[in-house]
């Protein structure tokens, strides 16, 4: 007796097939099809037309999405060392509005030099009146004098 032609879906598809003689058909189950989805937008009647098309025949199941690659332990350690986007800042001394290219910090010697200039400049200026004072010394004292003005 000839059977029906075309695709015949099993009445009780198995979730998983066994090996060899224990094999069972797994097609036709809920995992082998996908449900129809309504697509919004388009012209009037397009949504219903699309639903009719989708429900007229079972659609193939959505292929399994690729599983994420296992993370190597070494990379995992590296990831743990990286700062979190939502974690506490690692630069607590900076304001949230600090620009990326923050202005350079002033030379720490500047304050020390200013203190020394204020302390020594009167005496250094007195030596400008010495006969035979070299020009390099005059230039040096003038530079110090310009720093405090």
């Amino acid at each position: 007796m000839a059977g029906k032609g075309g695709y015949q879906a099993p009445e009780n598809p198995a979730v998983q097939s066994g090996p060899g003689s224990l094999s069972q058909r797994t097609d036709g189950g809920p995992a082998s099809t996908q449900t129809a989805r309504y697509m919004a937008g388009g012209n009037y009647g397009d949504g219903q037309e699309m639903m009719d098309i989708q429900t007229s025949a079972p659609m193939a199941a959505t292929p399994e999405t690729a599983k994420p690659m296992p993370v190597e332990p070494q990379m995992q350690e590296m990831g743990n060392a990286l700062p979190s986007l939502t974690g506490m800042t690692q630069r607590p001394w900076e304001s949230e509005t600090t620009p990326h290219n923050a202005p350079q910090q002033p030379d720490p010697r500047t304050q020390e030099n200013n203190d020394l200039i204020n302390r020594y400049l009167p005496d250094l200026k007195a030596a400008l009146n010495f006969p035979g004072v070299p020009d390099s010394y005059v230039k040096f004292v003038n530079y110090l004098d310009s720093q405090v003005k």
Binding site: R109, E112, P131, F140
Partner: protein, 72 residues
């Protein structure tokens, strides 16, 4: 009136400030206060540190030299 004398604090400061750079004023002042045995010793130190001859000028008049260096 005092005169510009080689080997004094002012002369040392002139040499150290011009050899080390004005930005190193603190170092220059402290080294100028060191009781150098001679101008030659001081200049040898500057050469060792900067690998250059001492910078700075020479006074037009030198009187009462503390010790005459051999490198001038």
């Amino acid at each position: 009136m005092s005169k510009w004398v080689e080997g004094t604090f002012y002369d040392n400061l002139d040499k150290f400030a011009n050899s080390l750079g004005y930005e190193n004023l603190g170092t220059a002042i402290h080294l100028s206060l060191v009781p150098w045995q001679s101008v030659a010793d001081r200049d040898s130190f500057i050469r060792a540190v900067t690998e250059k001859d001492p910078q700075g000028g020479e006074g037009n008049l030198y009187s009462g030299l503390i010790q005459k260096g051999g490198n001038k």
